[in-house]
Structures are given as structure tokens and as C-alpha cells.
């Protein structure tokens, strides 16, 4: 049959194959992985052909070769040190930010007095206060956790407060008309409605927490990926420093993904629905 219509047989046959390739390319993550691989390949090519000195931009191959030479155990130690501070700081930030946001929404007076203070704290560069905090709180995890918390709690407060205030006014009137206890207005109406807002803040904050932990390590530390990068740079081991950078990026990505999954798992209804 196709022989009788030679003009159409060609596009017909390719049409059969093309959607397969397209579907593979459209699958989640495939485009991103291809882009990353392409970039690394171009980078390797550029580093080799243009003879860029390795202290300016080491080739990916020399960066990756440092991974085995450091050894899994040392990597794990540094990653754990950074991860521990980032997660504890992040957790502390959640524990402060959500009650604070509730208080701000419940009390207009508190909103007027406390909010400007929060803005001032937020506009002070934490990187600049970090050394002071370390002097005040001494050695150990405590100052690092505080620095991390300071860096990542503000977006949570703002976003949670916005979400709590964005509840449909009809439901608040319903709550008032039932003369229900005030805390249930928070737990049964406002907080669930704020879940999408809280999670978009958590996604931002969890990557900020990694930054906070690294900033703290730059100031005073003897472990952690940030410390490792600083130490490697001071020894002019640039490929090694770059390897640390890759590890940090991977950590941030993994934490970001973990928060997204937590939302999908715990609050599936809070995600925009595909129709």
C-alpha cells in the first residue's frame, strides 16, 4: 500500500520512530542530565585544547580523579559535619519561624513591633556577624547552627505569615460564627492553607542552610565540606577544592529534592494538580 503512495511513505515511516526519541527526551530529568553531561564534555574539551592552567579552571577529569584519592571515609566525615549543622540549623529555623509567623498573624500589635526588627536582622549580612557569633558562643556546633538558622529562617517567617494570612476570609468567618477556640482556627484552617507557602519557603531555606553551614565553617572549623574547600585552596590543590564544590552542589540538590518529596508524600493535595 505504501508503494502506491511513495510521496507519503517517507514521512510516514519516520513518524513512527520520532515520537519514541521525543518521549525519551521529554522524560523527567533526561534533558537536565544531557545538559549537564554536555557542559562537562565541553568543559573538558576546552580545558585540554586551550591549555587553561589548572589553578584557573581544572579539567573535570582532574577534579573527579581527586575523589578516590581523598577516600570515602574522609568525604563522609566532611559531608556529615556540614550536613549535621545544616539540618540542625534548618530544624531550629523551622521551630522558630512557624510559631513566630503564627504570632505575627494573630497579633497586629506584634506584627507592628516585631516585624521591623526582623527586617533589620535580615538586612544585616550574616556573613559579617558570623565571626562575632563564633567569638560569643565559642567552639563546637552551637555557633555554626545559630549562623545557619539566622541565614535561613527569614524566608520561612515571611512565607508562612503570607500563607496564614491568605486563607479564604469566608472560612475565618465560619470559624468565628461557630465560636470555635482560636487555636483551632490556626490548626484546622490557617496552617493547612499555608502548607504550599511553607514548602516553597522550605525549599529555598534548605539550600540556604547549606550556605549557612559553609559560611560558619569558613569562619572557624576543622571539619566540613566548606572547611575542606578552604583548606584545599590554601594548599593550592584547586581540583580538590572544585571537587568539594561539586559535593556541596550535590548536597543542596539532594536536600531540595528531599523537601519536595516530603511535600508530595505528606501533603499531596497541596501540589498544583495536573489536569
Amino acid at each position: 500500500m505504501s508503494l502506491s503512495m511513495p510521496d507519503f511513505s517517507q514521512p510516514e515511516s519516520t513518524k513512527g520512530k520520532r515520537p519514541d526519541l521525543r518521549r525519551i527526551l521529554a522524560a523527567p530529568g533526561v534533558a537536565a542530565i544531557l545538559t549537564i553531561l554536555g557542559t562537562v564534555a565541553l568543559w573538558e574539551l576546552a580545558a585540554r585544547t586551550l591549555n587553561i592552567p589548572s589553578y584557573l579552571l581544572p579539567a573535570p577529569s582532574s577534579i573527579f580523579s581527586t575523589f578516590p584519592s581523598i577516600g570515602a571515609e574522609r568525604w563522609a566525615g566532611h559531608v556529615w559535619a556540614t550536613l549535621r549543622v545544616a539540618l540542625l540549623g534548618f530544624g531550629l529555623a523551622i521551630a522558630i519561624a512557624i510559631p513566630l509567623a503564627i504570632a505575627l498573624v494573630r497579633s497586629p500589635a506584634l506584627n507592628r513591633t516585631l516585624y521591623p526588627l526582623l527586617v533589620i536582622v535580615q538586612s544585616t549580612p550574616v556573613v559579617a556577624i558570623a565571626p562575632i557569633i563564633i567569638v560569643v558562643l565559642g567552639a563546637g556546633d552551637a555557633p555554626r547552627i545559630v549562623i545557619t538558622t539566622l541565614i535561613c529562617f527569614f524566608p520561612m517567617v515571611v512565607s508562612t505569615a503570607t500563607g496564614l494570612a491568605a486563607t479564604p476570609p469566608e472560612l475565618i468567618e465560619l470559624s468565628r460564627s461557630l465560636r470555635a477556640p482560636g487555636f483551632r482556627e490556626i490548626t484546622q484552617i490557617r496552617l493547612p492553607f499555608a502548607v504550599p507557602y511553607i514548602f516553597s519557603a522550605l525549599k529555598i531555606s534548605v539550600t540556604l542552610a547549606v550556605i549557612g553551614a559553609v559560611v560558619a565553617e569558613f569562619c572557624a572549623s576543622d571539619a566540613g565540606v566548606g572547611y575542606f574547600i578552604q583548606f584545599s585552596t590554601s594548599m593550592f590543590k584547586l581540583p580538590q577544592a572544585w571537587a568539594g564544590l561539586f559535593v556541596l552542589a550535590a548536597m543542596s540538590l539532594a536536600l531540595f529534592q528531599a523537601v519536595s518529596w516530603a511535600q508530595k508524600l505528606l501533603f499531596p493535595w497541596s501540589l498544583p494538580r495536573k489536569r
Binding site: E170, E173, S177, L178, R179, I189, P192, W269, R273
Partner: protein
């Protein structure tokens, strides 16, 4: 002893102080709603209809005059009043059944099996039997509004306040909802204050229609609906209903032109 009216407005006025000045929303509003009467309220946009409802519910205090419910002055929110909003505003994370029992859970902190039984009964009444385990966004707008009605009826209030409950629905669904209301209140009479912009809806559903003036809102006129109950689908073609609807339309258009 004389039986007090279900709702009584006595020379009520409402002035809002806003950042940009004073807004006089209502002036000298007086009217009564008898027990088990269905009152429809018509009036131009912004004339204070929603404000009236919020004052009956005790969510807003009048700046002058008073509102009485069953002979007692309203001083705060009261539980024997149910509210149906313009939008269904259901809880998107809760099942339909959980949405219907929500007032109980919200007020008392827990729900019993008889509360769930009642929710099932109400869902059957509003034509949503078997939808109890679905989530709100699996339902159409009209179905969601039915859930809103079931929710408002769950605590079995004496008074039901409905603020343009069908205005977000398409014309056909809206008419169906009207017939359903006739059936629901036919089975279980309630005192209803029903705000609408539709003259035919008002004429079909109400015992009496209250027409309001533009801002500041006050009572322009009250008209009885001279059609006996029970009413049904045929009522919409009843000459008395169509005539009243035409008259109401003229009244509202005159006010707009003036």
C-alpha cells in the same frame, strides 16, 4: 404572648471608617423576617446586602440601631445560624464528608459517628449520595456548592443565611439548584435570608422579596410572592412569578437609571 420575629432590623445603620474616609453602607434599615419565612434580598451591587447578613450572624456590630434574632439583641456570633457563601470555600485537603462535618470538628475538636451519619443524610438530601469519600476538586462547581449547603445545615441551624450562593454557577445548574432548594426547604422549613442578583430566582424561591436602594442601602420596598407552596419546576412559568420578576427588574433598572 406574641411570637417574636426570627429576625428584626430596627433602624439599623452601618458606617465603615476606612483609611480613605467614611463609607455609609446602610441607613435606617428596618424589616422583619418571620419564622420559617424565605426572604430574598435584591439590590444594586455595594448596597450593603452582605453587610446585612454579617450583622445577622453577629460577625459585625451595627453602628446604630439594632438586630434582633428570636427577640434577643445580637451581640456576637451565634451558633443557631448557618451561612452559605458565594464561593463554596471547602477545605481542599478534606473529603466531602469531612467538609460537611467540619463545623462539628472545628467547634468541639472531634466528631462522633452520629455526626457522620447526619453528614451522609445531608449529602443524600443535596443529591450527593456516594460522593462522601471524594475530594472537593473532583466535584463540579455546582456539586461543591451543594456541599457548602450541607455543611451549613449540619448543625441544624434555625436560620440559614445565603449570600449569592448560586452566582458562580452556569444558568442551567443554577436553575436546578433553585428547584433543589424548594425541595430541601419543603421537607424541612427554615428561616432563610437569600441574597441574589437574579429577579427570577427571587420570585421562584421566596415568600417575600426585599428590594434595597443603592448606597447607603435602605429598604426601597417589600413585595410578597403571591404563589402558594409547594412550588416546583412549573412555578417558574407561573404568570404570577414572571410578572413579579418583570416588576422587580423594572424596580432595579429604575434605580440604576436614577
Amino acid at each position: 404572648m406574641e411570637i417574636p420575629a426570627a429576625i428584626r432590623f430596627d433602624r439599623l445603620g452601618q458606617v465603615f471608617e476606612t483609611g480613605s474616609g467614611r463609607v455609609e453602607a446602610l441607613r435606617n434599615v428596618s424589616f422583619e423576617v418571620a419564622r420559617h419565612e424565605f426572604l430574598a434580598v435584591l439590590g444594586p451591587s455595594g448596597c450593603g446586602k452582605s453587610t446585612l447578613l454579617r450583622m445577622i450572624a453577629g460577625l459585625l456590630e451595627p453602628t446604630s440601631g439594632a438586630v434582633e434574632v428570636f427577640g434577643r439583641r445580637v451581640t456576637g456570633p451565634r451558633e443557631d445560624i448557618g451561612i452559605v457563601f458565594q464561593k463554596p470555600t471547602l477545605l481542599p485537603w478534606a473529603t466531602i464528608e469531612d467538609n460537611v462535618v467540619f463545623p462539628v470538628r472545628h467547634k468541639r475538636g472531634r466528631v462522633g459517628s452520629h455526626d457522620r451519619d447526619r453528614a451522609q443524610e445531608l449529602l443524600r438530601m443535596v443529591g450527593l449520595e456516594g460522593f462522601g469519600k471524594r475530594l472537593p476538586d473532583e466535584l463540579s462547581g455546582g456539586m461543591q456548592q451543594r456541599v457548602g449547603i450541607a455543611r451549613a445545615l449540619h448543625m441544624d441551624p434555625d436560620i440559614l443565611l445565603m449570600d449569592e450562593p448560586f452566582s458562580a454557577l452556569d444558568a442551567l445548574t443554577r436553575e436546578e439548584m433553585g428547584f433543589d432548594l424548594l425541595r430541601i426547604f419543603g421537607e424541612r422549613p427554615k428561616t432563610v435570608v437569600f441574597i441574589t442578583h437574579s429577579v427570577s430566582e427571587a420570585a421562584l424561591l421566596a415568600d417575600r422579596v426585599l428590594v434595597m436602594t443603592g448606597r447607603p442601602g435602605s429598604v426601597l420596598t417589600e413585595l410578597p410572592v403571591p404563589v402558594a407552596r409547594p412550588r416546583g419546576r412549573e412555578t417558574i412559568k407561573d404568570p404570577a412569578v414572571t410578572e413579579l420578576a418583570a416588576h422587580l427588574r423594572d424596580l432595579l433598572l429604575q434605580r440604576d437609571a436614577a
